[in-house]
Amino acid sequence: MAQRNGVRGPMSALTEFLRSTGITPTTIARRVATQEQPQPEAGPSRPRGSRRNTAAADDEAEEEQEYASDNLDEPEEETQPQKKKPKLSKAAEAKLKAKAKAAAAMKKKKGEDDEDYEEDGDEDEDAYTALSKSAYGGGSKPPVGSFETCAKCEKQFTVTKYTMAANPGPGYLCHPCAKASGTDPFKKPAAPRKRKTPADKRKVVHIEERSFPTLVTICIDVVARHIDDVEAFGDIGTLNLEAISKAISKNRSLTSENAPLFYNAEQTKLVMYDATNLSPDAFIAMGNLNPNLTTLRLDFCGPLNDTVIAAWNNSLPNLVSLELFGPFLIREAAWLSFLESHFNMEAFLITQSPRFSLDCLNALVEYSKRTLKKLALREVGKMCDEFLEQIAEFSKLEYLDIAEPDHSCSDEGMIQLLEAVGGNLTHLDLSGHGLLTDEVLSEGLAPNLRVLKDLKMTHLPEITDAGVAALFSSLDKNTGLVSVDLGRNPTLGTPALEALLAHSGATMQHLCINGWKDVTEEGLSLIKDARELRTLDVGWCRAVDNFVVDRWVGGDDGCRNLEELKVWGCGRVEGKWGRAGKGKRRGLRVYGIESQTVL
């Protein structure tokens, strides 16, 4: 052990203490070896160190006595001194006996372990403490039937299997004293933890969700079953087709099998709201079966790849408007070939395409410069100032979305772009360009935007309250904004809101000031004059409470047309407004009240 090889690892406090009193694994193991015989009693084994030391000498004599006695046949029950001992049923008795045997076997096993221990003494120290416990506990208790003097009342009593050690030791307690000390001498030792049988282990408990099949899914299955016979469905108008497309996409059930339902050789417009489960082959088939498409919109079109684009180059010659959400597999070469074969595009809207490069944009400029009206390069990873220079070439641009780039564009680039294309823009989204400052507002937006309806500028930490206020006071008063999203700009506050509402309060339909933490109650109250408001998001505006909301929607004036109100993170809104404080108004949905989910 440590002494032998001169290496001492970390030791527990108990080990250290025992070592200092001269108790080592070797001495303990020797002692165990000398009392190798199995112990018939099955009392709870617990360490009785000090008792061992004093009674060690008597042990052998005691054991001799024990084995010579009549108690070998486990007559412990009969030797119980307390007359009111509860009679055990036969079954319980058998159980007790079995337990005693098991315990004895365990002890025996532990003894063997001790031997092992002596042999390979290089075991680590931690094992020692555990073993010492069993070694002590093993044969320390006097044999059942012998006499002992109670440690407390000093009366002589007969040792039974229920006899308990005094705590603190040394010695044992007679039954009345053991009971008086508050412990239940009859308490059965904690049942040994049952080892799981392998069969039990294999049986995995599933949380089985027994969801009842909805009628929608049943109908979709029926559609899939008859998809080869589209005529069987009868004639359904294009309006219905769109509704059906939405219903099918709702639970991602649009598949290669049922997608042909929406195909038509004559239609010019196709929208698929969730194309995740379509294979590349299905996309190619889509091109072949809808040769006259001019407008194509595919949401969640992840599987779309280069081969599909190559096929579309031939099969969809008339395409002028393409909107894709998530075409991340399409490589640069495929984009180039697509833009080359589809010149004079009018709308090119893509979101999340990390491979759309400057060369692709150059190609778009080259082939569609004079016609492009809508451009979205949202969440395009390669967005940079050079992109902006190229975008400035699109003279007819009305819709521009270059939000959420990987790296923000600069003030100068953005100002130049807005000088070039700002005049016709009705929709502008500059969200997430974190480097943009007030300069863009004063020199880019204010002088150039004349017909803007829809402005989104979220996540712009550099713009200030005063800058935004100045922007809205200098914007052309004749064209009010319809939709404004300036959420997640915690620097903005009351002056910005006042200026915004003064400028376009009368026309505003959608407003998001989510995260304007410092806007005041007075400022928020002004929103009630925006009579056309349909949706309003005032999440995380700290001043919003029941009274503020009541001013908007409680009375007959205020935002009468409001349909959706979001108050996430407004802890003081409890849904108590309107008549009788019930917080209900026909046609209004309120989201985010902390104490309830949907009103």
Binding site: R210, F212, P213, T214, L215, V216, I218, C219, I220, D221, V222, V223, R225, H226, D229, A232, F233, G234, I236, N240, A243, I244, K246, A247, I248, K250
Partner: protein
């Protein structure tokens, strides 16, 4: 008027929602079903929810803007659902059989109606 009795399909109905409600189709047919069956459709349940104080809830009448043949199929599914949702986990839900009872001619209309009824 074709009054369809769905009572035998909702034998396990609790006493509280045992009253009858009327479901009206676009073309004037009306169907009487137990409330528990009507509750299988979330939209219909909201319409009939007395807490909402809607005219439908007071009159216990749900207009459904669909042809009678569609409404009938909707109600067939609703009683199917009301019955089998209460059935034990051991019992097999005969979805295939139900599917075969839907003629493809009406399936798209039914799909839209089901989407509206939120079921």
């Amino acid at each position: 008027m074709a009054d369809v009795d769905m009572a035998q399909n909702s034998g396990t109905t609790a006493e509280t929602d045992n009253d009858w409600v009327r479901v009206m189709s676009d073309d004037g047919y009306s169907f009487l079903v137990r409330r528990s069956v009507a509750n299988a459709s979330e939209t219909m349940r909201d319409m009939l929810d007395t807490a909402g104080n809607y005219a439908e809830a007071i009159a216990r009448t749900c207009p459904v803007s669909q042809r009678a043949v569609i409404v009938e199929k909707l109600l067939e599914y609703m009683s199917f659902k009301a019955y089998y949702e209460k059935a034990g986990p051991k019992e097999e839900v005969p979805v295939q059989e139900f599917m075969e009872r839907i003629p493809p001619e009406i399936v798209l209309e039914l799909l839209l109606a089901a989407d509206y009824q939120n079921m």
